[in-house]
């Protein structure tokens, strides 16, 4: 048991790859204190940036040769109701084919505040941003076609928010109030 715990802990502190360490230096040199936070976990590097810097940081990641993130692997929304100041979050996963490293960049968002689209950098963000909008209500400014994607057009609400009920708000419900009475 103890040997296993040690090996698991060793894996947790897996060092960053050489190219990713170089990318890290480059990013920190360029943006410095504008990077609100960074984390390393299981060999993955995460940066938090302010919403104003979102497009600029991602553009830098794409266009700087030392980083060369040519693919947006995925972009997703998230809801953290326990973080009252900024309950929403957008997370982007970048991948570099030429250098073979990955990076995660996220930004906290206050309710009702929009974020600039990155469809101009990677067109593949189009569906991702539409999904983040319909599921979390995050508005992407400048998105060419911000409509509902997976749910129907007349759907009301943002279903992946934590306060949205699992059974939905329309249609048949299970009557939990009758439990034990019949």
């Amino acid at each position: 048991m103890s040997a296993k715990a040690v090996s698991a802990a060793g894996k947790a502190e897996r060092p960053l790859s050489a190219t990713l360490a170089a990318a890290k230096m480059e990013l920190e040199e360029r943006f410095g204190t504008r990077l609100l936070g960074s984390a390393e976990f299981r060999g993955e590097l995460t940066y938090t940036v302010a919403p104003e810097d979102w497009v600029e940081v991602l553009r830098f990641c794409k266009e700087t040769p030392a980083l060369a993130f040519d693919q947006l692997d995925c972009l997703l929304g998230d809801h953290l109701p326990e973080r009252a100041a900024a309950p929403l979050q957008v997370v982007a996963h970048l991948l570099s084919h030429t250098r073979g490293h990955r990076l995660r960049i996220k930004t906290p968002l206050v309710e009702g505040r929009g974020l600039s689209t990155v469809t101009g950098l990677w067109p593949s963000a189009g569906f991702d941003e539409r999904e983040a909008w319909e599921m979390f209500g995050i508005v992407f400014e400048g998105h060419p076609d911000l409509r509902r994607l997976l749910t129907t057009e007349d759907f009301v609400g943002h279903p992946l928010r934590k306060d949205f009920p699992l059974q939905g708000t329309v249609g048949g419900r299970i009557r939990t109030d009758l439990r034990g009475k019949i």
Binding site: K4, S7, A8, A9, K11, A12, F41, R42, E44, T46, D70, Q71, L72, D73, C74, L76, D78, H79, L80, V91, H93, H97, G100, R102, R104, W122, P123, S124, G126, F127, R148, L149, L150, T151, T152, P159, L160, K162, F164, L166
Partner: protein, 429 residues
């Protein structure tokens, strides 16, 4: 090699331009621009709806097409007809209970979806999988890949107008599904992955039957190639159609065989090895013309390589446990639960409480048959994920349809759409 020369000769005869073996990116862009030039002088545009019930659309995908005569001017893809709220559902389940949900994503390669999810959870936990477990995962994953590609081939050829070949492919796919059924107990939705390994060991007689099948399948691939590869109708429908260069693939996140057909030897099995892929010897299938025909060639090569991988796994598979034994995080062996009090307590604990997972977030991608499939998990500690996202290849392939088909003919739409391999369970989640 003589086949290739025949094809090159046929191509120049059929299409009026010589086909070199390895076109450069500029040449590919030029070929792509040739079809897009049709968009310059469009007259009256007619809008029609293709799908979700169109016989040649795979699953419930709908595309609104703007047509000028037979040329596709614009496409607006509509997805979501099969949306089941998988990610919302996963947030209410413990990590063990999510496994059966994952193989409903891409139901043509169910185990690969289990595998990708389990890899992500193991990365989050920092859990090591025993060597035998990794080999069994590799075998099951490659069987799924073969089944997926054979199914793809049958459907793709059926889209181009023949029924018989579809039946041939389905018959051969049965051999693979029989093996998967023997191994996992289910034909399509396997739910065979477990956190820390797999559900069961290889059954008795499996290795023998599996060897017979993988000796037989390359012969079948040769047969498919005899029927399809040198078929003039297929050649004319597929060669030079639906060109998607490597730059387009990066921009639209098109991965898997479509990317490899554009001359990029990108395969997560090689580039970010997982399971037992770093211990077996195989080649990444690459082609260079980035069209429908080369995507077919890539998939045929991949079936052969998968057979090679399975054979090496069967030869080298070591003895030992097939699932990690970690009382706090994995399920006990089912056969021990009613015999061993400790296993019974572990089972109760894991089923009712769930595994204890550290706080953190991970992203893990694996090479699914259709492309790169990633899983993002954010954990706040405890037994349930706070947010889970399945980054499935079909989602992005469905999105990439407009740049693929605009400027092409409407009759090529089904061929191109099939060639990037979209399954709507994977797409809509």
């Amino acid at each position: 090699m003589s086949d290739h020369n025949d094809n090159a000769a046929a191509a120049s005869e059929l299409q009026g331009h010589a086909v070199s073996g390895r076109p450069t990116l500029e040449e590919l862009k030029e070929r792509k621009a040739r079809s897009r030039r049709r968009l310059e002088h469009t007259g009256e545009v007619m809008t029609i709806s293709m799908g979700p019930q169109h016989p040649s659309m795979h699953g419930v995908y709908r595309a609104e097409l703007d047509l000028d005569g037979e040329v596709i001017v614009a496409v607006r893809p509509e997805i979501g007809n099969l949306h089941r709220g998988v990610e919302k559902l996963c947030e209410q389940r413990t990590y063990h209970q999510i496994i059966p949900i994952t193989d409903r994503l891409d139901y043509l390669a169910g185990f690969v979806m289990n595998h990708g999810y389990c890899e992500a959870v193991e990365k989050l936990m920092g859990l090591e999988v025993p060597v035998r477990g990794r080999y069994i995962r590799t075998i099951a994953g490659e069987l799924c890949r073969i089944a997926n590609h054979i199914m793809w081939l049958g459907v793709h050829i059926m889209d181009l107008g023949t029924q018989t070949f579809f039946c041939i492919c389905f018959r051969d796919r049965e051999y693979v599904l029989d093996l998967l059924e023997m191994l996992t107990g289910a034909r399509l939705t396997h739910s065979f992955g477990r956190i820390g390994g797999v559900a069961k060991d290889l059954p008795d007689g499996f290795a023998h039957r599996c060897r017979k099948a993988i000796d037989f399948l390359p012969q079948r691939v040769a047969e498919y190639e005899r029927i399809v590869k040198h078929n003039r109708i297929y050649y004319k429908r597929a060669k030079g159609v639906g060109i998607f260069t490597s730059e387009d693939c990066f921009a639209w996140r098109v991965t898997g065989p479509a990317l490899r057909s554009a001359g990029i030897a990108r395969d997560l099995r090689k580039d970010e090895p997982y399971a037992a892929y770093d211990e077996v010897d195989f080649e990444v299938a690459v082609e260079y013309n980035a069209d429908v025909y080369d995507r077919f060639l890539v998939r045929m090569k991949e079936i052969r390589e998968s057979c090679k991988i399975i054979r090496q796994c069967l030869d080298n598979i070591p003895d030992g446990p097939f699932v990690a034994r970690d009382a706090g995080r994995t399920l006990p062996l089912k056969k021990n639960v009613l015999r061993d009090p400790a296993a019974m307590i572990q089972d109760f604990y894991q089923v009712f409480e769930g595994p204890q997972v550290p706080k953190g977030e991970v992203y893990r991608a694996i090479e699914a048959p259709k492309g790169e499939m990633g899983v993002y998990i954010r954990s706040e500690g405890g037994a349930k994920p706070a947010r889970i996202r399945f980054t499935t290849p079909s989602f992005y392939h469905g999105q990439a349809v407009p740049p693929l088909v605009e400027g092409e003919m409407i009759s090529d739409m089904v061929a191109i759409f099939a060639s990037i391999d979209v399954v709507l369970g994977d797409c809509d989640r």
